[in-house]
Amino acid sequence: MLTFSLKDNPRLDRWLRFEDDHTVRIGTGKVELGQGVLTALAQIAAEELDLRIDQVRMMSGNSVEGPGEGYTASSWSIEHSGAAIRLVAAEVRALALARAALRLNAAPDELTVADGAFLKNGSPSGIDYWSIAGELDLSAEATGTVPPKPLSAHRLVGRSVPRLDLPAKLTGSGFIQDMMLPGMLHARTLRQPGPGAMLLQLDEEMIRRRAGGDIRIVRLDNFVAFAGADETAVRAAAVAATERAIWDNALSLAPEQATPDWVASQPSDDRLMGDPPPEPAMDRVCARFTRPFLSHGSIAPSCAVALYRDGVLTVWSHAQGMHPLRENIARTVGFSLDAVACHHVQGAGCYGHNGADDAALDAALVALALPDQPIRLMWRREEEFGYEPLSSAMTVTVHAGLDGAGQPVDWTTEIWSATHGQRPGVGGASLLAAHAMKTPPPDRKPFDIPLERGGGAARNGIPLYDIGPKRIELHLIHDVPVRTSSLRGLGATLNVFAIEGLLDDLAGRAGEDPVAYRLAILSDPRARRVLEKAAAMANWSSRDAGGAGSGLGIGLARYKNSSAYAAVAAAVEVDEAVRVTNIWCAVDAGLAINPDGILNQIEGNIVQAISWALIEEVRFGPQGIATLDWESYPVIRFSEIPEIRVELVEANEYPPIGVGECAGGPTAAAIGNAVAHALGTRIHDMPMTRDRIMKALMA
């Protein structure tokens, strides 16, 4: 059977090619963002082909030769790309084996493969993949009919193979920011302060003086960039221009527009998902939870390299999908797809849709204006904070209908949020600089990622407990004055925080222990297993009555209700601030391709979620987004890192499922519940700051 990605890219040679240097090139549309996906995909390929891992070369994010797999997002990579590579590798191995059998005058079942060489009845045959590669027609379409190896035959899948990209990154290379091409010019932009802003005045003479070196000024309608051989001068030019340019109709924001309450008070496009509405007479308990706008906060400003030569625009980018990027750039500049090539080069972690795609268009626009010269365009720090898409502020009210025993029998998760899906080309969205062109893109219609694709704001809005009727009422707010899009976890972070928060309150009302209360309404054996495991790791049975400043809380979810299961227990101490002292986490990832890679991802997701739960908050001001550096947008630091223990429960009999985002919601929820346990009263709003602790204690 053909999988999702194979249907879109049926030709075998999009995925696999035998190289002259006795390696195998494995293509994938998914890209390395620091999550270790290329190592895991290489393991899958090497496993099925009976190669050593160093015989596999990953070709990732090549819009010309590689498969198109959309964006590297929503924890789909192993489920989609991994499944395709597994089937293709199994099929090519079978084709090669059949060919070798002919050549060796042997029956196929007399042959095996080791490190790419054919063995006949266990002895070297003198031929390998590469000696017969020329006789294989890999332009054929995959049939998906060759079964992959059984679990019992795995040698590489399931092993913690070290990350392939880490050695370079520990010795000072490996990033797009480091690319050097002959004759390359550095570039920076003057950003249009909001769509619709018009540049009235730009003092070019002043800018050249402030640059202090030779610069070129590229101007296309309301898009302006500075380019030159000296990066210091180019940066100085952009800083000067940003300070002194005069705009008409520049975006201005009010501080209250950054609040979840403001967002929730705007007109909305309403959707009901799940079961029909409950009978109004039902006895319902509800609680309202919020979180602010969040920044991706990539540690590096976005960067891209572009070259326009001989009618072809080549772009190197760290964005999350090179095929979509090619389409979006081609459409914006009016080129045919054939005239644009996009190649992925690794950048800093992005955790979703940040400025990477937009920087690629910026570089392309400068390259088109300055042909035959490679352009390395990098955003400034305040540009990354000020112009990347934010993750929407959200409000969630959870309503539970209860039976006589205090157990939930009806559930509504009511959500107010702007969209979490505004990647270029998705739902009518465009690249940023397209709005600076003479003919800006048409207005978008209300759109969010549909629930069958994991949902955006609604992600994880349906609890996985046995409750009876469950539904989501989504109030999608279209008119927010900032661009919002996907940040790791999307709506799941607040939805899980809210659902698990109310469940703890319900357990309290019923006089029951939070873990026992959950287990009583949880029949999914995989969910039960991680919950019981995390509770055991945290020594839950010794949990005290709480209220004395230290607390222990639990949170549980299955990411997207279809990917990995995660249960998290958090121990906190609360005085003036919340200090997380310990995190225990149990995860069911299905078949674990690279266990240590999974642990690394989960640990990172936990750390990031602690930062969201306690610290992070975007603020607005008259000049737009006001949190433009790490002092105004603080994130978690080393001294705030708790002891973190993560364990995988053995689940190799299930297919591999995405893990990179599974622990965020449960971590935020566990901290929220631990804080409630410590204080004896709940804080419903993220981040759980000093002010909110005081307010909760006064209430």
Binding site: L170, G172, F175, M180, T232, I299, N600
Partner: protein
């Protein structure tokens, strides 16, 4: 204003003819081709650009080159190479202490400066020493383990 100045970088003396106001980071990356020190914020807030200046960990993104003539700089490339990793780099590899890796150069440098002062630190002391360095992927637990391990490895070597 350009002035001729000398800089010892990773054991090699360079005569530089660059504007005295150029940031050290730009000189390292663009004039000397040492790309390991990274631009993160340009504001001395994230630590991705950290290098050793006369053995002390320092931000390089805003430090004007004109103030540094005659000084000795060590970048991540000067710690070790792929064939001869510094014990810190080896420990980071052993612990798989990194995700995207962009912050690692600065963290390795900060850790090197710290272990030179305190060869037998606790986890809390390491965390305090690395507090000026941001990591956005959440590799902190592994980085703390790796620095503890490197410290132990280095003590063993000395003993």
């Amino acid at each position: 204003m350009n002035e001729c100045l000398t800089l010892n970088v990773n054991g090699q003396v360079h005569e530089l003819d660059v504007p005295s106001t150029a940031p050290l980071l730009d000189v390292l990356r663009n004039h000397l081709g040492l790309k390991g020190s990274r631009y993160g914020c340009g504001l001395e807030q994230c630590g991705a650009c950290m290098v050793l200046i006369d053995g002390v960990a320092a931000y390089s993104c805003s430090r004007e080159i004109g103030t540094l003539s005659g000084r000795t700089i060590t970048t991540v490339e000067g710690l070790g190479s792929a064939d001869a990793l510094h014990p810190l780099q080896q420990a980071f590899l052993d612990e798989q202490a990194g995700q995207c890796g962009y912050c690692l150069s600065g963290i390795l440098i900060a850790a090197k400066a710290f272990l030179d002062r305190n060869p037998d630190p606790t986890r809390a002391e390491i965390a305090a020493a690395l507090d000026a360095n941001l990591c956005r992927c959440g590799s902190h637990p592994r980085i703390l383990r790796a620095v503890l391990k490197a410290a132990a490895d280095m003590r063993e070597k000395v003993a």
